[in-house]
Symmetry: C2
């Protein structure tokens, strides 16, 4: 299992969701452009770097190949890979390389930004600015405005079964930011991450030199029996809709997970990233509601509104409130932003927005499921009952399909991007941001790519 990453991967410390390969590419490009990696310096071997980061070597090889193609790296026979002088045209090469005629991009985790409720937000902002107490134009409480923390407790209690006092709520910038604050507050501990799983926490922990274990996810979600074999005392999980497989953690696993946390005197970090989008049945309640003393709950507006809003929240056990606020470097979240979102929550417009977008995403999901059945017969999508992505499990190596699809202008995301083991093969299709016609065309081209 991977532990600390080399210094050059400081760029992992971002909260933006990205594939691991893209993160490696960006981290290296940035290190080379800034001069932190000088021309002629050797970079780690693909094998060493993959081991360091706890990912498959293939991902690293692909990242290096891309950077060699762009002129950032140079592979020398028998002498490893070194940094090349940054070509004058690096910028141009890079932009060209970043957009190789992709017609349909199934990038996961992205909502449709055209659905952003511009008018409702403007109305909420006007209303908030009219009624904000004068003192709220200063930032006194690093946890956030009482009015928003109360509105969040009401909303999360109603919609997600979260059980908390507003004093346990900390408003932050989103999952990545909240995760970072929690990690700093929890101090020296070993982490367990879902495998496959959202790559954000893995890169983040690696950049901080914090040790972690990858724990397998099977058809019922995180294998708690395997978690018990590790020395971890913090587990990062996506119980409502496992990222990226879409599995809902069933009741017995939930019970086991909470028992584990109590047994090791540990915590569960619950990443409730897209639970608002559930199509076929009632939402599954949160772990937090069952064991509030053992769970650090993280929610975000990144999937419901857009990651540019930069508004999320933690609900934490009381003893963690002060350590977490003390770890803040940004002071607090903008009170204007907070007051506006509180207004959006309490006036009902956020609920209306969720109902409206849920219908849109459901329609897209149904259409894509139909198109997969038609154009990729025999491939059964999973994780379709919620969220903005689905998983297509494949029999053999997924990279052949990824490449063949790319040749047809369709970008799909290999399961390897989410995993440190390559036992399972599959691709993740994000459909939230894709208009119907594009998604259908993408599925057809994907079918052609499968041959």
């Amino acid at each position: 299992m991977g532990t600390s990453g080399p210094d050059l991967f400081f760029a992992f410390d971002r909260s933006r969701p990205r594939g691991l390969r893209v993160q490696i590419e960006d981290g290296l490009r940035s290190a080379i452009r800034s001069g932190r990696l000088a021309a002629g310096s050797p970079v780690p071997s693909t094998r060493a770097l993959a081991a360091d980061l706890g990912i498959t070597r293939k991902v690293v090889v692909e990242a290096y190949d891309q950077l060699i193609a762009e002129g950032y790296l140079l592979s020398r026979q028998g002498a490893g890979t070194v940094v090349q002088r940054v070509p004058a045209v690096a910028q141009a090469v890079e932009s060209a390389a970043a957009t190789p005629a992709v017609e349909v991009d199934f990038r996961p985790g992205r909502p449709d930004l055209t659905l952003f409720p511009r008018a409702a937000w403007a109305k909420a902002a006007r209303s908030a600015l009219r009624s904000m107490p004068t003192a709220d134009f200063a930032d006194e409480d690093p946890r956030g405005l009482p009015v928003l923390r109360q509105a969040l407790v009401d909303y999360l209690g109603r919609v997600r079964g979260v059980s908390a006092d507003p004093a346990q709520v900390i408003v932050c910038a989103g999952f990545g930011h909240g995760f970072d604050l929690a990690v700093h507050a929890l101090g020296a501990r070993r982490y367990a991450l879902e495998d496959p799983g959202y790559p954000g926490p893995r890169g983040h922990l690696a950049s901080l030199g914090i040790p972690f274990d990858a724990v397998p996810v099977d058809g019922d979600g995180l294998m708690v029996s395997r978690l018990r074999e590790t020395a971890a005392t913090v587990a990062v999980v996506t119980p409502a809709h496992q990222s990226p497989t879409g599995v809902v953690l069933p009741p017995d696993r939930r019970r086991e997970l909470i028992e584990w946390a109590r047994d090791v005197d540990g915590y569960v970090i619950e990443d409730d990233y897209d639970a608002e989008y559930r199509y076929d049945r009632r939402p599954v309640g949160t772990l937090q509601g069952v064991a509030p003393e053992r769970v650090v709950y993280c929610g975000t507006t990144s999937k419901t509104l857009g990651s540019g809003v930069r508004l999320g929240w933690l609900v934490v056990p009381p003893e963690l409130v002060d350590p977490i606020t003390a770890a803040r470097r940004d002071g607090s979240t903008s009170t204007i932003l907070q007051a506006t979102f509180a207004e959006l929550l309490t006036c009902g417009d956020f609920d209306r927005h969720l109902r409206r977008t849920r219908l849109v995403y459901r329609e897209r999901r149904d259409a894509l499921v139909g198109a997969v059945a038609r154009w990729l017969p025999g491939v059964v999508p999973s994780g379709i009952s919620a969220g903005l992505n689905m998983l297509l499990t494949l029999p053999g190596d997924e990279s052949v399909l990824v490449d063949a699809a790319m040749e047809r202008g369709v970008r799909v995301y290999p399961l390897a991007d989410f995993s440190s083991e390559s036992e399972r093969a599959g691709i993740v299709l994000g459909y939230g941001a894709l208009p119907l016609g594009k998604a259908l065309r993408g599925a057809r081209l994907l079918g052609a790519a499968m041959g």
Copy 2:
């Protein structure tokens, strides 16, 4: 000179401006309430802690006395000071203690929040939300939106003589946040801080264990000759209006400072915190405009709008852009907030707001200068040509006056709060947030306190 602080002072890592004493009190209260400091644990002696933080012992003694009065600490004859069990009524005691019948609070660095341009902000938000490109609802660039970075370059070039390309601008949450990002990007270096000076950076560096030297400020600002005697390679300065003395750094000192930075291959961090408020002559240009390759320039809306807005900016040499954005933990600043402020800048409403508030603050300054002349004859205020504070230099120990004023319901801030040496005595009066009548009454009561 102080170096690293003990772990319990992690609370210093906030960007909110506070007196050192208040920061120590808050840090200890929080550590005790959260259980990080258990009942019975010894706390450092006042002498040791003062040395650690590089401040006068008096500040620590006052903080400890307050915490003893509140029941958090217990002073035992011959056995030092230890943590007391948190009293059940701690919360109540604390709130009561935090507001001891203060009628007039001359707290420095605070603008009048009642002047916040609510209508103009709401209008800018509506306009921004109407015209924002869809893609801006995601956060792609950790430096910030191009539209705001361009608007800032225009504004800062026009008003502050800043010389930069938008690619060198990084939008952040304010000075504390920007300073933290810069410190992480600059890596292992020794810092020089103004003495007396704004306590934020001192506490911040102490909490990170980063070494620093306090360099004296005389009637002409930072003594660059004394800076040269240190091993520092980063100097944090307030050249436009030294905090808290109000001195404007004259041309020869500016030249010397830039020469120093070039000689040591170092950087100057320019905290341009309140340069918008200058009353009697044209604003002094920035150091950044003179030596853009050696200066990390920091600006903020905390003084012009309010610290709750959480919007500031760095203008940095090109080689620091990538390291600084890589150090971000919050992803980026809310794009809605950014687009709104860009609109406020470009539509002229921000300029109108500055003109309006400048008149208000100037009137308050004039009135307070007059009242000081009347009620505190012989005491000459300095640093009055700009900003929201003035300094009253005193002949002897300032703490007598601070206490006597407090007995009359007037809170003033001793120069010791800003200094690690106690050679000079004085008090800082913030007048920005005080209505005229209150400031005048405060000056009268202060005169009575001086006897």
